[in-house]
Structures are given as C-alpha cells and as structure tokens.
Subunit: 288 residues, 2 copies
C-alpha cells in the first residue's frame, strides 16, 4: 500500500509541543509484501542507511509484525532540519503498512505528536494527549498565508535542542506564552490580525538560541523583509517567515540575503499550508 | 455621561490571566458635573462605602482630574465573586467620565486587564500587553453556549487567591496549559467540540482549591449535570458550567443540588455571553 504525508512546522512561536502547521513538501512511502526486507530511498534522506534501521522499516515492521517487506521511500522534506521529516515518514510508513491508527503509531515511534498530528490532519493543529489517545484540534488557518522556510545547511539534533530547555519556568513566562498563543491563533486564522508579537515566546526559542546564534538576526530580517511574523520551525534550525501569499517572493529574497549576510549556508523555500494531511492509496503520490 | 459594561469570567480553564468571556449581567455608571462628590449605588455592591473611596469615584475623579462629580452606579454583578464586578465598574466609570481609552484606565486602576478586555469588547477575548498597550483578541465564540454560574455566598479576595499561586511551574505544566488552551478555544468556537478536558489546567485551579475545598466536587457535579466543561470564574469562588443553551436549566438544577449537598450557601445564575461589551451614551442602561 502507498501513503503520503506532508512536512510540518511544530513549536510555532509560543506553541511549544502543541501547535503545528502542515506544509506542502511531501514524503511518500510504499510498503509491499516481499521475501525479505528491502528499503529503497529517493530524494531527501536518500543518503541515510537504507536497512532495518531506517525509520520507515522500523515502523512498517512493527505494524506488520514481520519484516518481509519491500519498502520504498521518496521524500521532499529536508532531514533533521525541524520540518517534521521523521514524523511524516513514520506516519506514511504506518499507514502504508496498514496501521489502524497511524497517528498513534507515528507519535509513539517518532516521538513528535505535534508534527505527526499536523501531518495526519493537515492545516493548523494543536495536539493534546487525553486519556483515550491523541486529540487533534484543527484550528482556523487563513489560506492566504504563505510560509517562507529558511533552511540552513546544518542539522540540529532534537535531543540537544530539548536539553537546552529548562525544567521549570516562571509562572509569568507560562502566562506570557498563553497570551501569545491566543494572539497567534487569532492571526493565523485571519492574516490581517497577524502581528510580529504573536510569535514571541519565553519557553524555547530563547534557550535554543545558543545552538543557533544567527537565528534572532535571521528572524528579524524575515520580518523586515515583509513577513507578518517569524519563528523557529520545530527545534530548528529551520526558521519560518509567515507572510501574505503575495509577499512570499520578497520575504524569500530577504531570507536569502540574510543567510548570505550572516555567512550561513542554506536554502530558502516558499511553502504553503498543506490541507489534506495523510493520504492513503492510489492518490498518495508526490505531486509533479 | 452614562456607560454600561458587562460582567466577565476570566482565567477560563487553562487561560490564566489571558482568556475571558463577557457575560450578560451589567453595571451602569453615570457621571455628571456637580458641586461636590456624591456617589449613589443601587443593586449589587450597594452596601459598600459610597464615598471618595468607591472604585467608580476613584476612576472618574482620576479621569476628570477633579471630584466635583455626581456618580450613580447600578449593578447586577455580584461583588468579589470572580465575575469581574470591579473591572466592569472601573471600565464603565472611565467611559462615563469621558476617558479616551477606558480599557487602559480600567486595566490600570482595577488591575484585571483580562476582565476589562472582555467587558470592553464583549464576547470571548484574550488579552496581551504589547509595547503600545493592551491588545484585545476577539476569538470565535459559539453563541449556542450558555454559562451557568454557581455563586457561593462567600467572597474570595483576589490578593489571597493570587498568593496561592507558585512563582515557578514545571515546563511540562506550562505546555499542558498551552495544549488545553488550544483545545478550549476550539470548543468555545464550536460547542460540538467542547470536551471536559478543555478546561483542565495546572497553573491556578489546583493551587487555589485549598481556599475553596468544595470546588472540585461542584465542578464535577456541573459536568455530570450536563455541562460540556466546567471551570473557575476568575479567582473564584464562582464556578462556571459551560453548556448547550438548551441544557442550561438542567445544569443549573445540578448546580443548586450540588451546593445543597456540599452545604455551601449560594445561588445559581443562567447566563449567556454578552457580545456588545462597553456601551456608552443613551443606550447604556441596564436591561429590563
């Protein structure tokens, strides 16, 4: 069976571990019965070891209960950049292997329920762990928004990014993020209301800046270049400028110039929200 | 001049100091020039000292720069119960005294910007302090919802309720509230999606329970009685059952029975969201 899942940007501004948006870069995974395990991988991540240790193989074997599978992975999603590549692969692999609840499998195997929820449902989502499983809230998203992703040519390991966070935060910082989360949801639902302050955050972006010292300058450049707001994507290093669709090219230019000014190698992608989420079956192929 | 402002329930579930809804109980304040200060007060709060120390007198004098004012206050909002009485009085007094920015005055003089924002804008709001002042986000609210207020015959001073909170919280509790805030906003915008877990919170309701030990039992009774969710209103002691409009009478009955069972004297009000907020001028009189 074949399944397709989109990239995603999690940890949007104040929404640490909660708020994510699906983006129009895709992973396609095909899982077929075979005599023995084979994994072929094209596109982004094709240089990773393609054997039993590949995330798609681990997830599909776990779902099927055996590894006599031919697995094919094609990906447009940069790996280990904070764009939800592993969640998309885990979700698509679980679905292609026939999982009843691919979201639960992906959240468990990959460990990023926020990315998995966005990849599953599409659009803008918040995720909550309730007693009976993951609850995905699909929240209003203004489809006139574009997402300019500044993707540095460096990886930032999630474990290291997670270790940068403190175990305790002041109550006033927690309240700060609650307020900004509401402000961000207002702005993502109606782009005319989106303001730069909406992505302000006191839980993760600051503590992670030592891991990517150029980030504040790049974020500021995106806003100066016309983005309505800017924030980290996931645990970075990808940075996101959120803008009017018609401003995306100008914001992308500003992102490229800022990367050059900062001496950071990387690329800039003009993305839009994906609103389909997980697609299983014949329609599940990469666009184009 | 005359102004009217609604009651409000702040600190809704996870939304400590951020999320508030305006409710259809009202305060009306009239401010007219006079030879010397007089304050007359009818309705709720009429037993409070009616002189220069009255909140309406303090606010109006401050706005006018003198106290040669005849001030009349009529209120339907129970005092010191967590229903935003003081914010409504401060807002209406500021507006009736001709303040350019009554929200800023009320937030400063009364100290509850969340209540003041709801009373100002009506409906469901989130408030953020930005560099240029208070930013009020008006968020989607399903008008099919009703709010059943269980109002004990006891006051709970905000200062004491505030002192019960801890200065630091775990990051996981902060994240928990962020997730629940998104879940609550989803449910308040579409009542079919409102679930009891949406008002779960780890920042304020638990720490304040020793000040009102019967609260958890009363909240549970509201949900068992048909409310989709239940939470504290402001810093309490009022508790709120959020329900379908058609279920309000049954939920109110459950609230009365639970008060009786717990041996707590009090009353139960069936309220709805106010969507007008602050009204200034001839239309600003109490309904009925």
């Amino acid at each position: 069976m074949r399944a397709r899942a989109p990239a995603s940007a999690a940890n949007l501004g104040p929404g640490l571990d909660v708020l994510a948006v699906a983006l129009d870069l895709y992973v396609e995974v095909e899982v077929e019965p075979a005599e023995r395990l084979t994994v072929t991988s094209d596109g982004e991540g094709a240089d990773l070891p393609a054997g039993a240790s590949h995330l798609a193989a681990r997830v599909a074997s776990q779902v099927c209960g055996h590894d006599r599978l031919a697995i094919r992975v094609r990906s447009e999603v940069p790996v280990a950049r904070g764009l939800g590549s592993s969640a998309a692969i885990a979700l698509a692999a679980a679905a292609a292997a026939g999982a009843d609840d691919p979201l639960a499998v992906a959240a468990r195997e990959d460990g990023h329920p926020d990315n998995a929820a966005a990849a599953f449902a599409g659009g803008l989502v918040a995720v909550n762990g309730l007693d009976d499983g993951w609850r995905v809230s699909r929240l209003p998203l203004d489809t006139g928004l574009a997402f300019v992703a500044v993707v540095p040519d460096r990886t930032l390991e999630t474990a290291r990014a997670r270790a940068a966070l403190t175990a305790y935060v002041s109550r006033s910082d927690a309240v700060f993020n609650l307020g900004r989360l509401a402000l961000l949801l207002e702005g993502l639902g109606d782009r005319r209301k989106l303001v730069p302050e909406a992505t302000a955050d006191r839980l993760h972006q600051g503590p992670r800046t030592p891991l990517f010292p150029e980030a504040p300058g790049l974020l500021a450049a995106l806003v100066e270049g016309g983005a309505r707001a800017a924030c980290w994507s996931g645990a970075g290093p990808t940075l996101l400028g959120i803008c009017e669709g018609g401003d995306a090219a100008a914001v992308a230019d500003a992102g490229r110039a800022a990367l050059a000014d900062a001496g950071v190698a990387g690329r800039v992608l003009e993305l839009h929200a994906d609103v389909e989420g997980l697609v299983v079956g014949a329609r599940a192929q990469l666009p184009g």
